[in-house]
């Protein structure tokens, strides 16, 4: 199932129970599968047109009235374009607004550089109080939405819109503020987020065949980061590699380095090397950005060699 369909399905279920939830779009409703919500909950869904700044501040006004607005756009327009509105109208004003940014990083594919936000996490991570959540798969997203709705404050969902490989099973218990240890190991910690999580598991599997034991830590919430889990794993293994679909400046790698600042542990990285995006399908873009499976393997070996 596509992630956006899971999002819309969860929204419909939650809106049934919680009359304070409302939905705002900026001419990308269908991209987020919200039109069905407009039909089912008329008077609670509003199309703002191509005016994201207005949408963000309107959401703040609705929140000040006790509503729980969800606003959606593509990641660059849901973050860097409205950074000040998020900072002042929403975060500084302590409003309860959920922001959905879709097509993160290279997943914007054929929309190209203008629509590729390699910096959305960095932009938002510097705003006090923000929660930044990037679901790994449809199971996790489905389990997360109720906790997202229950959280009071400004929360950003970095949403891959289409089908993701399923990592979690139905017995998985989600905690918005706790990283998941997907695989335990003793030689190397692989910290991964979003679309790179599958690569982390594959690298761990391949290295296991060579007698190297990898611990895979899945960070779905990069802010506030689960420092405790990351530090404990790094102390156990003594080496870390981070895998992310974002600029290595300001995103997961930076957050992990901050968490490990007082630890004597080498940390290598795979991510966007401080570059803008370009048009292309994901396999091509992974090559351009140095984010292929081979790059992940190489950086994992490098971290091991630095121990």
């Amino acid at each position: 199932m596509e992630m956006r369909d899971v999002f819309a399905k969860c929204m419909a279920e939650m809106m049934e129970k919680d009359p304070s939830i409302c939905v705002l779009d900026a001419d990308l409703a269908n991209s987020h599968r919200t039109p069905a919500l407009y039909k089912k909950f008329p008077g609670r869904c509003y199309e703002c047109g191509i005016a994201e700044q207005n949408m963000a501040s309107i959401a703040a006004g609705l929140s000040s009235y006790g509503f729980k607005p969800y606003i959606s756009s593509f990641t660059p327009f849901a973050t860097r374009r409205i950074c000040d509105q998020i900072a002042i109208s929403i975060a500084y004003s302590q409003q309860n607004v959920k922001i959905i940014g879709s097509d993160p990083g290279i997943s914007a594919e054929l929309n190209g550089g203008t629509h590729m936000s390699m910096e959305d996490i960095g932009v938002l991570r510097s705003i006090p109080g923000m929660v930044i959540f990037e679901p790994v798969d449809e199971v996790q997203l489905g389990k997360a939405m109720q906790q997202v709705n229950d959280y009071e404050g400004c929360l950003y969902i970095r949403l891959f819109r289409k089908v993701q490989p399923v990592i979690f099973d139905e017995n998985y218990e989600f905690d918005l503020f706790k990283a998941d240890v997907l695989r335990e190991g003793t030689d190397l910690t692989i910290v991964a987020s979003g679309i790179m999580t599958k690569d982390a598991l594959d690298v761990a599997e391949q290295l296991a065949g060579e007698g190297i034991s990898c611990e895979v830590v899945s960070v779905h919430t990069v802010k506030p980061i689960d420092k405790e889990t990351i530090v404990a794993s790094a102390r156990k293994t003594g080496a870390v590699v981070t895998l992310e679909n974002h600029n290595v400046l300001g995103g997961l790698h930076s957050a992990v380095l901050e968490a490990l600042a007082e630890e004597k542990v080498p940390v290598t990285k795979v991510g966007v090397p401080d570059k803008f995006g370009e048009v292309g399908k994901m396999p091509y873009l992974r090559e351009v950005m140095g984010m292929t499976y081979e790059d992940c393997l190489q950086q994992a070996r490098k971290a091991l060699s630095l121990k």
Binding site: C22, G43, R44, Y46, C48, G49, A51, Q53, N54, A56, S57, I58, A59, A60, G61, L62, S63, S64, Y65, G66, F67, P69, D84, Q85, A87, I88, S89, Y92, S93, Q94
Partner: protein, 274 residues
Amino acid sequence: MSCDLKQVARDIRCNIVECIGSIGVGHIGGCLSIADLLAVLYFQEMNVDPQNPKMPGRDRLICSKGHAGPALYSALALRGFFDKELLLTLNKNGTMLPSHCDMNKTPGIDMTAGSLGQGFSCACGAALGSKMAKDNAVIYCIIGDGESQEGQIWEAAMFAPAKKLDNLIAFTDYNKMQIDGTVEEICDIAPLGDKWRAFGWNVIELEDGNDVDAISDAVKAAKANIGSGKPTMVILNTVKGKGISFIEALGVGSHSTNLSAEDVQRALAEIRGE
């Protein structure tokens, strides 16, 4: 409530002077220009309860030109939301009265504002919220003329009529001045009434935006317009620094200026007609 609005406006002006004078510097010009409007809103038109500032269903005022915070604090103190003595803590360390409006610090402030253009959209959100809650509240919003250069103002200008937010009554404090010069010479917004009409608003233009009687009539007309589907924009042709001749004489320099203890006494005497 029934009271002498002209006297209320004078009292608000005195509070503004003492408030800004307590720290010796502040945005006095754009505070004084809206004192008459605040007298009409807080002392005649708005359904608010100083004992219960977050009363559900209350009318709300969002001052999108957030730097006029001291004007709102002055009116709120006069209306009984908090002790007048607190006005003397403006911008002091740890104060509940910061230079720009902060809904989480000051009783009676309905929305945080200061980054220009945003409060107006927040007011649209509150007006939409009132419609959704069906509480029949009126949402008032004050924007600056310089602020009207922000693109976000015009995003909201399109949104409010499109969503039929006739419970939104906005005011432009058209004092013709901004920090770097006159609005006309910096980046003109005229013809302002035509612009708002073209965007689908019910527009009321007041030649003297510092006349409490005219403002009072305009707000009544705007309220009578609720049900039409059109939001109202009242354009107040105001004077920056209104009521204190040496502040008015500063022109664009009145936006933010020093105010000595002697200036405070001189200003109070003029306002009180002594």
